[in-house]
């Protein structure tokens, strides 16, 4: 069994980061998507939020005609560390749902969770309540304070 796992890992590595593994002799009449290998390459959290994925191997943008070219992250208004780190947690969480035994991903998940907790605390201390339970900074009920997410003002 251990041999089989090593073999599968080697195969995945040999495929490169943009490819995954499939069974050599798969049963007919079944839907197959290649399985993403363990410990895949990753973007930083900020870049991941801009790209929509933490994993370069899954970054498959639309290049059809029409529309406008993507912008740099630095020019996207309102991009926040809190959102970036939260996104990394969400993305790694989905990855771990199907790769629960990837220890390096578990470690990274924990690091992002710690970082998120720190940023959330900073937001709370500055009077920005993310949940209703945090909405009592300095004895005041701050939950109703603007802005609500859909009202965010554009930077003139």
């Amino acid at each position: 069994m251990a041999d089989m796992q090593t073999q599968a890992a080697q195969t995945a590595e040999g495929c490169g980061d943009t490819r995954g593994t499939l069974p050599a002799c798969a049963p007919l009449a079944n839907p197959y998507v290649p399985y993403q290998g363990q410990n895949p390459d990753r973007y930083t959290a900020g870049r991941a939020l801009m790209k929509g994925t933490l994993f370069p191997g899954l970054d498959l943008p639309y290049r059809g005609t029409g529309g406008v070219e993507p912008r740099d992250a630095s020019s996207i208004p309102g991009m926040q560390d809190l959102q970036a780190v939260n996104f990394a947690v969400t993305e790694l969480g989905l990855y771990l749902d199907t790769h629960a035994d990837d220890e390096e991903a578990v470690q990274l998940f924990n690091q992002y969770v710690e970082q998120y907790e720190m940023l959330r605390q900073q937001a709370e201390d500055s009077g920005m309540a993310l949940t209703q339970m945090e909405a009592t900074t300095g004895g005041c009920y701050t939950w109703l304070d603007d802005p609500w997410p859909w009202d965010a003002e554009t930077e003139a």
Partner: protein, 200 residues
């Protein structure tokens, strides 16, 4: 239960109103392959899933889709703020305006209200997960088509993000099918319904 976090998953700050574009993007709020259907599909299918990875994945992706519903609602709202009389009467928006003013209503771009008939819960894990793979592809195409139509960079950043999420979710649902298959009789995965015949 669910706890609301007062933030969007990805920032949406749209500078210029564009009601015609809003009337197209509303399809990803309440259209046949939109985020409302996506979240309800996954959050409803999870109850009959037999294994913990499948329960977890459907819960987590279904929850993320609720965040996407909020992002699409925000895009529509910001595209229809502070409209001129001319914009209200413009072709492509007047029909929406007469029923909903600048409210956000779950309907397709064609005007058809959201319907549970656009999604399926079969209670069979392979059939449900295969439906989910197709659903992610259909939503991806809708975002492709929005990117083709829209020339607003503020809108397109958010739409690109949402489109990429469909691709990641497709990958995870494909892996979920493989995790399910490994637990079934590989020679014939259709020999029974694991949701009914295997109480995990």
């Amino acid at each position: 239960m669910f706890v609301y976090e007062k933030k969007l998953q990805y920032p949406v700050r749209i500078a210029n109103p564009n009601p015609q574009l809003a009337a197209v993007i509303i399809s990803q709020y309440g259209g046949p392959d939109g985020e409302l259907g996506a979240s309800l599909r996954y959050l409803s299918q999870r109850y009959s899933m037999p294994y913990p990875e499948l329960k977890g994945l459907l819960t987590d992706i279904g929850t993320e889709e609720l965040g996407h519903l909020e992002m699409v609602g925000t895009i529509v709202h910001q595209l229809t703020r502070t409209l001129t009389q001319e914009q209200i009467e413009s072709a492509g928006f007047a029909n929406y305006f007469v029923d909903h003013t600048a409210g956000v209503y779950p309907q397709a771009a064609s005007g058809t209200p959201w319907s549970a008939a656009t999604m399926a819960v079969t209670g069979d894990p392979i059939a449900d997960l295969t439906e989910d793979l197709a659903a992610e592809q259909k939503a991806r195409v809708t975002y492709d088509n929005i990117l083709r139509i829209s020339d607003d960079p503020d809108v397109n950043d958010a739409i690109r993000f949402l489109r990429e999420r469909e691709i990641v979710h497709f990958q995870r649902f494909g892996e979920a099918v493989e995790l399910l298959r490994r637990r079934l009789d590989e020679k014939n995965v259709y020999y029974m319904n694991p949701a009914l015949n295997l109480q995990a």
